[in-house]
C-alpha cells in the first residue's frame, strides 16, 4: 500500500524535476502578479486602508494562486497519461483505485507545495516578512490543504475528460473565477451581493483567508474555521475522486 503510493508519488516528482522549463516558467506568473499588482495597487491600498501595506495582503494571495494553478495542472496531467496510454498501465494493475487516488493526490500536492514555497521565498525578497516560526508552521498546513484540495479537484475533473479540448473551458470558467473571487488580490468587503455570494462558495476563499490569517494575522472568518472548512473539503474531494476513478475505463 505505502510502496504503491510512494512509486506513484515518485513518478510525478521525477516528471516535475526533469522538466526545468515548466519549473521555472510557472514562477513567471506569480512574480509578475506580485510586482505588477504589488507596486501598481500598493499606494491605492495603503491610502484606502489607512496605512496598511498591500504586500502583506497580497503575498499570501499570490502564494495561494501558485499552489492553485500547479495543483490543478498536476491533477489534469492524468489526461495526458490517458492520451499517451500510460494510464492503462496503472489501471490494469492489481491495486485499488483508492491507492491510485492517494498517490496521485500526494504527488500533485507535493509539487504544488514546492512551488508555493518557492513563491513564498520570492515574497521574502520583495519585502514580505512572516512574524514567527509558529505562524509559518500553521501557514504550511494551509498551503498543504490548498494543494491537496485542488490536486484532488483536478484529478476528479480529469477522470471525466477524454482529452485536453475542454481545458480552456475549465481554466476560464472554473479556475480563473476561483482565483479572482477568492480574495487573493483584493479584500472581499463591500461587494455586490452576487459576487459576495460566489466568493463565499469559493473553496479558495477559505484557503487564502486561513493562510493570510496564519502568516499575517488578517482573517475574516477566523483561522480555525478556515482550517475546518478547507480540511473537510479536501477529504470530500478525495472521496469523490476515488469514486470517479473506480469508474474510470481506459
Amino acid at each position: 500500500m505505502i510502496e504503491v503510493i510512494y512509486i506513484l508519488w515518485l513518478r510525478q516528482l521525477k516528471h516535475y524535476w526533469r522538466s526545468k522549463a515548466r519549473l521555472i516558467g510557472s514562477l513567471g506568473q506569480p512574480l509578475l502578479f506580485m510586482v505588477a499588482f504589488g507596486f501598481g495597487f500598493g499606494p491605492m491600498y495603503t491610502e484606502a486602508s489607512g496605512g496598511a501595506n498591500y504586500m502583506d495582503f497580497l503575498a499570501p494571495g499570490i502564494v495561494s494562486m501558485s499552489i492553485l494553478f500547479t495543483a490543478v495542472f498536476s491533477g489534469l496531467e492524468v489526461i495526458w497519461d490517458r492520451q499517451f496510454g500510460f494510464l492503462k498501465e496503472t489501471l490494469v494493475a492489481p491495486i485499488s483505485r483508492t491507492e491510485i487516488m492517494i498517490g496521485k493526490t500526494l504527488g500533485g500536492a507535493t509539487i504544488a507545495m514546492i512551488q508555493g514555497l518557492i513563491v513564498l521565498s520570492l515574497t521574502y525578497v520583495l519585502g514580505f516578512r512572516i512574524p514567527s516560526l509558529a505562524s509559518l508552521g500553521l501557514g504550511l498546513v494551509f498551503m498543504f490543504l490548498i494543494a491537496i484540495f485542488f490536486t484532488g479537484l483536478g484529478l476528479a475533473i480529469a477522470s471525466k475528460m477524454k482529452d485536453m479540448h475542454g481545458f480552456q473551458l475549465i481554466m476560464n470558467f472554473l479556475i480563473m473565477p476561483i482565483f479572482f473571487l477568492s480574495g487573493a488580490l483584493f479584500p472581499l468587503e463591500n461587494l455586490p451581493s452576487a459576487i459576495y455570494f460566489i466568493s463565499r462558495i469559493d473553496p479558495l476563499t477559505y484557503g487564502v483567508d486561513g493562510l493570510r490569517g496564519a502568516i499575517t494575522g488578517m482573517s475574516i472568518f477566523g483561522v480555525y474555521n478556515d482550517l475546518a472548512i478547507i480540511g473537510l473539503l479536501s477529504l470530500l474531494v478525495c472521496a469523490v475522486g476515488t469514486v470517479l476513478f473506480s469508474k474510470l475505463e481506459a
Partner: protein, 267 residues
C-alpha cells in the same frame, strides 16, 4: 486440459452499437491462442474487457479461476498485457518504467532487481536500461513493453498486435521470445495480429471474430479444412470477405462520428 481463461456470453454495447455480441470461448492452460479478425471486428473491445479496463454489458469472464468482474485484483495479478498502442512513460528511463510496474504489481522487494534484470535481458535491453524511453525506437519500446509484462510472472500474457509496425528482424525476435516463454515457463499466450502467417506459425488454437461474433474457431488445420483453404490467410479472407474495413474503427470513434453526423444533420 484446464482452461486458464473462460468467457461466457460476453456482450458489450455502446449506446446503439453492439461491439461484441454474446461470445463464448475457452483458452487452455499453456496454449497459444490467436484471436483474429478484421479491423473493427471487436478484438480490442474484447481484450479490454478481459483485462478489466472496460466493463462488459453482460457475460462472465474467468481468468486463472478468478471472476474478472468481482475479483478484479486477483484476476489482474494473474495476467500481463501488452497493449496495442503505446503505454510507456516516455519521461522515465526503461528501468524506471519496469520498477514502477514491479511495485504496482507487488513483486516482492527482494526478488525485484533480479527479475527486472532477467526480463530486460530476455528482450536484449539490459544495456540500454538507463536510457529515457523517448530515445527508444518503436521496436525497442515494444520489447520493453513485453519485458515489463513479464516481471510479475503472469499466468497468461495478452498481446494485442505486438508486432504491428515493426521490421521483420524485430518481429522474428519478438515471436521467438514469446514462443520461449510459452514453452519454458508454460505461460499461456493470448494474442491478436493481422499477420496471418505469424498466427499460422505460432498458434495452437485460433478464433476468428467478425462483426462482434466468433465465426470460426479451432486449430489452424481444422480451420483450413473447414474452409477448404491452402493457408490461414485464405481461410480468413473466405470467412470475413474481401471488403476493406474502416481503419480506426474503434467503437468510440464510430460513436463520435455518428454523433457528429447527427449534429451536422440537425443544422
Amino acid at each position: 486440459m484446464q482452461n486458464i481463461l473462460s468467457v461466457q456470453s460476453l456482450t458489450k454495447k455502446f449506446e446503439d452499437f453492439t461491439a461484441v455480441k454474446d461470445i463464448s470461448f475457452n483458452v487452455q492452460t499453456g496454449s497459444i491462442f490467436a484471436f483474429l479478425g478484421p479491423n473493427g471486428a471487436g478484438k480490442s473491445t474484447t481484450i479490454k474487457m478481459l483485462t478489466t479496463v472496460l466493463k462488459p454489458t453482460s457475460g462472465e469472464i474467468s481468468i486463472n479461476g478468478f471472476n474478472a468482474l468481482k475479483e478484479q485484483d486477483r484476476a489482474r495479478a494473474s495476467f500481463g498485457i501488452v497493449f496495442q498502442d503505446h503505454s510507456l512513460d516516455d519521461e522515465l528511463t526503461a528501468y524506471e518504467n519496469i520498477v514502477y510496474h514491479a511495485v504496482i504489481y507487488k513483486v516482492p522487494k527482494k526478488e525485484r532487481a533480479e527479475r527486472i534484470r532477467r526480463a530486460l535481458e530476455i528482450v536484449g535491453l539490459w544495456d540500454r536500461r538507463e536510457d529515457y524511453v523517448k530515445k527508444y525506437s518503436g521496436g525497442m519500446k515494444r520489447r520493453l513493453e513485453i519485458a515489463r509484462a513479464l516481471v510479475h510472472y503472469p499466468k497468461i500474457l495478452f498481446l494485442d498486435e505486438p508486432t504491428v509496425g515493426l521490421d521483420p528482424q524485430t518481429r522474428k525476435s519478438i515471436w521467438d521470445h514469446i514462443k520461449n516463454l510459452n514453452q519454458e515457463k508454460g505461460m499461456t499466450i493470448f494474442l491478436t495480429t493481422h499477420y496471418m502467417e505469424e498466427a499460422e506459425a505460432i498458434a495452437d488454437q485460433i478464433a476468428i471474430i467478425d462483426h462482434g461474433k466468433i465465426i470460426e474457431s479451432g486449430t489452424v488445420e481444422e480451420i483450413k479444412e473447414k474452409t477448404d483453404a491452402e493457408s490461414l490467410e485464405e481461410a480468413f479472407l473466405k470467412l470475413t470477405g474481401r471488403d476493406i474495413r474502416d481503419e480506426n474503427n474503434e467503437p468510440a470513434n464510430k460513436m463520435r462520428m455518428i454523433r457528429g453526423m447527427r449534429r451536422r444533420n440537425r443544422h
